[in-house]
Structure formats: C-alpha cells, structure tokens
Amino acid sequence: MERIVLPQIENLNQIEVYLANGGFESAKKAFAKTPDEIIDEVKKSGLRGRGGAAFSAGLKWSFMPKTTDKPKYLCVNGDESEPGSFKDRQIFEDNPFQLIEGAIITCYAIGAKVAYLYIRGEYHKWIKLMQKAVDETYSRRFLGDKMKETFGIDFSCDLFIHKGAGAYICGEESSLMNSIEGLRGYPRVKPPFPAQRGLWNCPTTINNVETITNVPAIIKNGWECFSKIGAPKHPGTILFGISGHVNKPGVYELPSGVLLTDLIYNVAGGVPGNKKIKCVIPGGSSMPPLRGDQLEGVRMDAESLKEVGSAIGTGGVMVMDEDTNLLKVLIRIAHFYHHESCGQCTPCREGTGWMEKILHRIDEGHGTSADLDLLISVANNIEGNTICALGEAAAWPVKFMITRFRDEFEKYVNKNISIPVPNKVHSMRGTAVPLAEIQK
C-alpha cells in the first residue's frame, strides 16, 4: 500500500528530493481554491486528529471565526510527550517538508498568518533538523513574505519553531498556548475554546504534527482517495509506534483499522520467546489497557477500540508479555503522571500523588485488597473533575489496570495486614511525643 505520511523515498528530508517528488505542488493546488473549499475537502476526507482525541480536523478548522479583526494563529503540536509515543519524531526526521507544506495549507484554510511548531525540549536533535528544514523553505521562498511571488497569490504566512521546556502538560493544547505566550504551562479553563480565544486571546487552531502532515496528501489526491483508506469512520493511515515485548519495535505506517494481532505478530515480528501477551496498551500510556486474551479481532481505529473499552490515543502500542509485573508497570505510569501533573487544579494535583503513594505501599508489601478499591475510588474522583484531560490520563491507567487485571493485583496485596497510621494525630508532631507512642 501507499504510504502517505512517511513515503518510502530516500532522502526525502532534503528539499531537492522533496521538490522532485511533487513537493509544494499540493500547496499550489490549494491556493487555486478558496479556504472554505479546503476546509470542506478536509472535512469530507474524514481526517481525524492524531493527537489523541481523534476529533475531525476539518470540523475543528471550521470553528475558526470567519470575520474577526484579530489575527488568527495555527499551532502545530509536536510536544509528543505521551509515554509510548514516538511517531512525530519520525516525521521531523524523514518528512519535514510535508509537515511544513501542510502547515502552509492549513494557515491558508483558516486564515492564519503565523504558525507555531511546538516541539518538546528533549527533541533537541529534531528541533535542529526542523529548524534547518524551515530555513531552507524560507530560502526557497515557500514561506514568509516572498511566498506571495512564488505562488502568485496574495497570501503569506510565517512558521516559527517553539522549543518546549520538558513538561508533559504542555502537550495539552491550552497549556501549549500558555507556554508559547511565556506563561506557566497551566491548562486554561474551557470554554472559551481556542477557536474563540487562543493564543494571546486570538482565534487559534491546534493540530497534531501527524494530522497536519496528512493535509498535503488529501489536497494532492483528493478527499475521496483519502477517505477510502482504512476504516471508514477513521480513514487514512496511522503511524503506529510499537514498543515493549516485540521482536521488531518501531514506527509503522499502516491503514487504520488494521488488526492489533496483525500489528503485533506480523508487522512487529511477534513476542520474543513466543511468550503469551499479558497486556497491551494500544494508544500511549494514558489509554486503558487491554488484556492479552481480549486482543483477538481488535482493530486499530478510534471506533473499534472504543467498542472494546480503550482508545486509539496517539497510536503508541505497548506490548507486555506474561512475565511482566503489572504493579511495577502501574507504579511507573502513576509516577509519571504524578511527576507531570501541573498542580493547578485540586483533584489531579493531590490525587496523582496519593495514587502513587498507595501503589508504593502495596509494592512494599503493606497493601490490602481494600487499597485496590481505594485506588479505583480515587481514580474515579479525579476523572471528570479536572480542568484538562490529564486528570483522565492519570486516572484511566490505574482504574482500568486494576479492574481488568484484578486477579493479578490481588496477588500483590495481603488479606489481613494492619498498616501503620502516621497521620492519626497530626497536631502532635510539634510536640515531643514520638510517633511510636501515639500508635500504641
């Protein structure tokens, strides 16, 4: 099959090669149409966001106000901070110009003069690569003021790369905007949504790198062509990043709706030592995990995964074999979300830490079965009560890991154990009564 996002062309990251393979032709084609026609085309293509929520890209663009006296902005989200996800890196490295072209077309469609490409700070090397690609695009006059002459239109846009400082939360769209503005990476309360009040309170659209990279292909081949690839309700190809216990981990571009078992056994070469699979997280660490015995017939697209109680997320598939200690896995995930919680709103700030503390206690052998119920209860209390989706991201792994692998977690806890209670007499800590004395 044809690859859209990462075509198999040698040295495509060099602008000569990109131009020789029809580079910036899509942009030319797009400029012949009106912005509304482009939005309509993308809508009809069925392109859905690749950043996790799988929201229709065309619909998102159409939320941008048509008449406004404020400038509009495009943010391209390359923060890619979800554990298990490493697909955008591949685009930065192998196909940067298609991403830039996509950004130009999107700017034209939504009427933005400025696009920001937000790349996580840890991607130092790829920021350099991208900056080189952007500079080259400028020197070839495909970006900036001079693109008016190149394309012969009365439209120009600029693209700036913004380097993140290494916070998971800045991958959330509203804190990404705060981060670009130079503020603390705190998510904003929604509504108002970015399309009404985004960057510097101006209308803003935020799309994932992969989503934007798909746009030139849609314009080039037409929406019908794109909508026929893969699952009808979630068409196109998806970059799957497979990691964990597989023989050939890596990023694979496949049509959506591919069988998960196909992906693991045929594409990624199966599990080392032919071991059984205990658990698969299909879309990055925050998505609900699937049991090994649940995998048969599961297809990798938003709708199918929803049916089996998970989500496509960023397409980062993590495979764990039968020897994996899921408690350790969960502790690592819980630690990550505890560490990355921004601390703005109460449930996530306090809840993530609490869950990690309970899990550590279980790991130390001081857990009871009731603690597992407590963990689920805490996760439920976080879910839905927070400003941004990090609440869910932190709650889901704990909640679903424990409910779906309860039998395994019961092995890690004791039936009858009395745990030391250090907080019973809080106020006494200032006095000379030792803790041991109080507990008697």
Binding site: S427, G430, A432, V433
Partner: protein, 164 residues
Amino acid sequence: MPGQKREKDLNIFEKLYIPEIAKGMALTLKSMFRPNVTLQYPEVRFEPPASYRGRPVLVQENNGIERCVACGLCSRVCPALAIEVQASETDLDKERYPVKFEINMLRCIFCGFCEEVCPEEAIVMSKDYELVFKNRNDAIFGKDKLLVPVEKLKDRLEFLRKFK
C-alpha cells in the same frame, strides 16, 4: 398533738427499747471488726483513681516544654469561663505556645470539658484536690502552678487513651 390517737401505740416491750439498743450494739460490734475506711487526713491522704477529676493541669514534657499550643479551645469550651489563654510565637516546631495560661479556680467547675476538647492532650484533670486560697488573686493559677511533668500524669494519660 395531745388528745389525738396515734396510728399505732408502742407496746410495753417496745417501750423498753432494750431489744433495739441490743440490735444497735450488735451492729456496732460487727463494724468494729470490719476494715477501716476513714482516712486520718491530713496525716493520711486519699489517692484517687485515674478517672478522678481533680484540678486541671498542663502537661509538661521531659524537655521542660508544655504540650499546649494555645489553641484556645479549652477556653472556648469552658462553660464557666475559667480559662484565659494568650498565645505567642515560638521558634519550636509547634510555632505557637501559651505565653499566659490562667485558670481561675473560683470559676472552675471540674467538668473536664477542657481535657476532652484538647487536641494535644495538653490539659488533663489531675488527682490534685487540695485547693485552698485566701483571696481572689491567689485563686487564679498561672503557668507556674499549672505545669506538671508528664511522669506525674501517666495514670490519667493512660486512662484517656483507653476511654476518651
């Protein structure tokens, strides 16, 4: 009342009172061999049980610092308004301490509410029941009289842990 007939007149035997006297003497005789319960106060002093509510005192830790953080709850709960606390800041971990703690023993009704409400187990009812003063000012006990080392209050503290 003369002229009126009594409900029941005593008969001669009863009028002699001798059997009754004998009965009384027998009881006295019996009691003579019972164990003695009267204490020869002040030579012998009554040692009350742990549940006894004597005068309220402040617990002083071994390092000489009172447990009290001057939260003022005892003062607030006191139905007789006997307790006055003035807090101040200390460099100790507890931040707050009573620079003045006064219990007006003329107001105190030994109800034990202060002990019950105390979040620090800092004020407890002692076994001390000997309270004598000659004027109103002497009846106001300051920290000097209220602070009692924790060893002397072990009974009461154990009792509180068990039953409070």
